[in-house]
């Protein structure tokens, strides 16, 4: 702040000049738009801390703020700032679609162009939430059609999306540009047809891991010849074959294409053709990476990646064999994200590949690479920040393969910058996790899944309490934690005592008593999401969080020991929470609450709840 402001000489007309002397600073502001409604014309020369900015200037400044957390803070300063913020906001993020209603959103934010909405509780990804639970996007779209007719972007996660909704979206929003659907369900490729056909300015179509009814690949042929604006196209998770001819033409005419992720049906030959049209790609998802015979000379094949100078992300690589994998080597040095979680590579194949990938920051793998493969990760990727290791045979309990604690330790030794880990394994020890924590103190996300529920340290036979204890004690920046293995209340005591930045906690088959949950609810000030399944936490635990839940986004408890009466008590005490119980299919015991979902809301109880969801 300039303590000696000069009046701007270039301004012809000055409507209001306000000078405020405060103990901190003096400010001079001019309103340069004579037609703009003034916020306040009062000339205040007092030592009040409040400063008077004309609306427009404030809005201009605030429009540069992107983070929705910052914007929330801004809106709390005073009424002027609240107003300026709401007028300048272009993107709204709704973490729980039932925490607010579309009408409230539309009333508060008049100028939204981009919306992100998350729907169902995360455990719905694992079939713990019955079908038709809700989170339908349609009510939102019908309000948006009136409030935001110029809506450009819609990003949905775990929402129920019907073909009708997609058609509505495609036809009622003339400026619609970007659609991203992750883990949604309820639609088919017919809905995609509508999007392809009607959205003349489409820049992004990102379809990831949804419960989609795949009726064929014709949707891709629905993109009109005039569409040249596409920048992101991701249909990797769709199974049907698309017309390669249509795809090739589309890719050729969309010169701004940055992200292309094709599905498994696209062969290596076809991929080569595609890449020749879009060497500017930044992110590529290949199709099947194996082929009986390739048509062209092998050298041309090898060159297809060396021309992609901007490529930083590579995924797909289905069925990759050591025969063809080397064609990606020319691009490896620039890669920052490599997703091999659908390529059943072995340790030697991975080691050969990684020796070329010096710049990797993020790596996703299948556990077929084994501990030896992870050793290669540790030695080849010193800048690694994120590692996810998925199980190739998660449900085959008789397999004792995959990765163990030693692979994890190897990675931690070689990759001290690790921040995000998701690790599926069948055995772990407390000592190993302690070593890992020591090697990588910067963890922000630590998700360890020991696949056999309640499994102890396989060497000492003790609970895995000390493992997670060492993580929370050492990794002070921890935001997200998923725990597994045999765990007593001691784990939760550690979490409550040490994990002060924890925002998300996932618990399954753990704990000994109500104390466990109480420790966490009392100890973690920043806790936002708590999801619990199959733990011995009962009514006392649930009610111990009475004053906490309003500061959190949501709580999920299933297969615990909570009674309906306790849920009713909670609902009665806290009217600003929705306390919902999902009834068991066979409805055996009506006094126990089989699945409880508690979340704060300003929208009141759900009006669209199906019969098996009871709002207390």
């Amino acid at each position: 702040m300039d303590p000696n402001p000069k009046r701007p000489k270039t301004v012809d007309r000055v409507d209001s000049v306000e000078v405020v002397n405060s103990s901190e600073s003096t400010q001079l502001l001019c309103s340069i738009d004579p037609n703009r409604k003034r916020a306040k014309t009062v000339d205040r020369v007092d030592s009040a801390e409040s400063t008077q900015f004309p609306d427009e200037v404030l809005e201009r400044v605030l429009s540069l703020i992107d983070s929705h957390k910052d914007r929330s803070s801004v809106s709390l300063v005073c009424k002027d700032w609240y107003n300026a913020e709401r007028w300048s906001r272009r993107h709204v993020f709704i973490g729980n679609c039932y925490s607010v209603s579309p009408e409230i959103v539309a009333a508060r934010f008049p100028r939204i162009r981009s919306v992100t909405i998350k729907g169902k509780p995360r455990f719905s990804d694992f079939n713990l939430v019955p079908e038709d639970w809700g989170a339908d996007i349609y009510p939102w779209l019908s309000v948006f059609a009136l409030a935001y007719p110029f809506l450009e972007e819609l990003r949905l996660k775990r929402m129920a999306v019907s073909d009708e909704s997609l058609e509505f979206l495609a036809t009622k929003f003339c400026n619609f540009k970007a659609l991203s659907l992750l883990s949604c369900d309820g639609f088919s490729t017919d809905g995609l047809k509508a999007i392809a056909t009607h959205c003349k300015n489409l820049t992004e179509l990102d379809i990831q891991e949804n419960g989609i009814d795949d009726l064929g690949g014709h949707w891709l042929s629905c993109f009109p010849e005039t569409l040249t604006s596409l920048e992101v196209l991701n249909f990797a998770s769709l199974n049907s074959e698309v017309s390669f001819d249509a795809l090739e033409k589309l890719v050729s005419r969309c010169k701004s294409l940055k992200v292309l992720k094709v599905n498994r049906n696209i062969s290596l030959d076809q991929l080569q053709k595609l890449l020749s049209h879009c060497p500017q790609l930044m992110e590529l998802g290949t199709g099947a990476f194996t082929q009986e015979l390739i048509s062209g000379p092998v050298t041309e094949f090898k060159n297809m990646f060396s021309n992609c100078r901007n490529l930083i992300t590579l995924s797909g690589l289905w069925d990759a064999t050591p025969l063809y994998l080397p064609v990606i080597y020319p691009a490896c040095a620039r890669l920052t994200f490599l997703n091999l979680s659908y390529a059943t590579l072995r340790s030697d194949e991975l080691a050969n590949l990684l020796s070329h990938c010096k710049s990797l920051r993020r790596l996703w793998l299948l556990d077929t690479v084994g501990d030896k493969g992870l050793e290669a990760v540790g030695s080849c990727c010193p800048f690694l920040e994120e590692l996810r290791v998925f199980p190739a045979h998660p449900f085959d309990q008789q397999i004792f393969l995959g990765v163990t604690e030693s692979g994890f330790v190897s990675v931690s030794r070689g990759c001290p910058r690790l921040r995000y880990v998701l690790y599926f394994c069948r055995q772990m020890t407390n000592a190993a996790v302690a070593a890992i924590a020591k090697n990588c103190p910067d963890f922000t996300h630590f998700r360890l899944c020991i696949m056999n529920p309640g499994q102890p340290d396989y060497l000492t036979k003790e609970p895995m309490d000390e493992a997670f204890g060492s993580i929370v004690k050492t990794c002070t920046k921890l935001q997200r934690l998923a725990i597994s293995g045999l765990l007593t209340d001691r784990t939760f005591e550690y979490i409550g005592k040490y994990s002060k930045n924890l925002e998300t906690l996932s618990v399954a088959f753990a704990g000994s008593s109500d104390l466990g949950m109480e420790y966490v609810l009392q100890g973690c000030p920043k806790l936002r999401k708590l999801e619990i399944r199959d733990c011995p936490f009962g009514n006392a635990a649930l009610l111990s969080g009475l004053t906490k839940y309003e500061s959190m986004r949501s709580l999920w408890m299933s297969a615990c020991n909570v009674s309906m009466n306790a849920c009713r008590a909670l609902a009665k005490e806290k009217p600003r929470l929705n306390v919902e119980v999902i009834r068991d299919e066979d409805g055996a015991d009506d006094s126990q609450a089989h699945k409880v979902y508690v979340y704060r809301t300003v929208a009141g109880p759900r009006r669209d709840a199906p019969p098996f969801v009871l709002t207390l």
Binding site: N127, S183, A392, Q398, F400, D489, S513, A559
Partner: protein, 272 residues
């Protein structure tokens, strides 16, 4: 410090567990957790901690057969009888129960342990999204013939062995052999009941290239299917490379064998 909850993982016979949370906390003595946890750690069945009987999650019986079923299946029909399993060395016990169980891990259990009961699969565990689940399931059905051991470095490498004309196949663990000699000896013993006439005794100092000779008494050719799906002659490559790429074995006999193994042709000529 709270005592560890006694998690009962025997599985579905959990009905007696009380739903009252306080009674779930049992004091576990020093020795007890070890034996209980030992068992739990190695027990293959997946029951659930029985907190509330009714609040327990839905349990689906997993796709894998339980032990009770295996013995009735075709692939196991020879397993319990006679001395054929004795030829397989120290692994006969587990192999009689099911071909799919890794014997190395079974050894961890006490020898008196009963076969694990039918596997129960817990809904939504491990937490894998449907898309990945379905993709991996499709992958494994594609590789139905490939045993688990081929996918990652592990303790065992079971491959099917078929012999032309034999009424049933066998399965052997390639990892327990260290060279072609041992393999051929084992195969010979295993399939001697099917060989007509002269079973060639294993000679001393057999090298890889002599393996073909071993079975030539019955004009057999030992072949294997490699990772690319091609049928190759056993013995050409170093042992390590062989077990790395071998997916299944086949003993070709009779007219198919003639003309395939160069040595056998020579022998035929010599005999004439």
């Amino acid at each position: 410090m709270s005592v560890p909850l006694e998690h009962d993982y025997i599985g579905l016979s959990d009905a007696s567990r009380s739903s009252d949370s306080s009674s779930n906390i049992t004091s576990v003595t020093e020795t007890q957790p070890n034996s209980v946890l030992n068992f739990k750690a190695t027990e293959l069945s997946l029951g659930l901690p029985g907190f509330s009987k009714n609040g327990g999650p839905t349990i689906m019986l997993g796709a894998k057969r339980g032990f009770a079923d295996v013995n009735l299946d075709g692939s196991g029909k020879w397993a319990l009888k006679g001395g054929s399993e004795a030829q397989l060395g120290g692994f006969e016990k587990s192999q009689t129960l099911t071909p799919d169980v890794k014997p190395a891990e079974d050894k961890k259990k006490g020898s008196g342990s009963a076969p694990p009961s039918a596997k129960a699969q817990v809904v939504g565990w491990p937490p894998i999204r449907s898309f990945r689940k379905n993709t991996m399931a499709a992958n494994s059905s594609k590789n139905a013939d490939v045993t688990e051991g081929n996918l990652a470095s592990g303790g065992c490498l079971f491959v099917k062995v078929s012999m032309d004309g034999a009424p049933y196949l066998r399965k052997i663990d390639l990892k327990i052999y260290h060279n072609y000699t041992e393999l051929s000896k084992a195969l010979e013993k295993m399939f001697s009941c099917f060989t007509l006439g002269n079973g060639v005794k294993g000679r001393e100092g057999l090298s890889e290239s002599n393996l073909k000779d071993l079975l030539h008494g019955s004009e057999c050719v030992l072949t294997y299917e490699d990772k690319d799906g091609d049928w190759m002659l056993v013995g050409d490559v170093p042992w390590e490379m062989f077990i790395d790429s071998c997916k299944r074995l086949r003993i070709m006999k009779g007219s198919e064998a003639i003309g395939l193994a160069p040595r056998s042709m020579e022998k035929c000529k010599n005999k004439i």
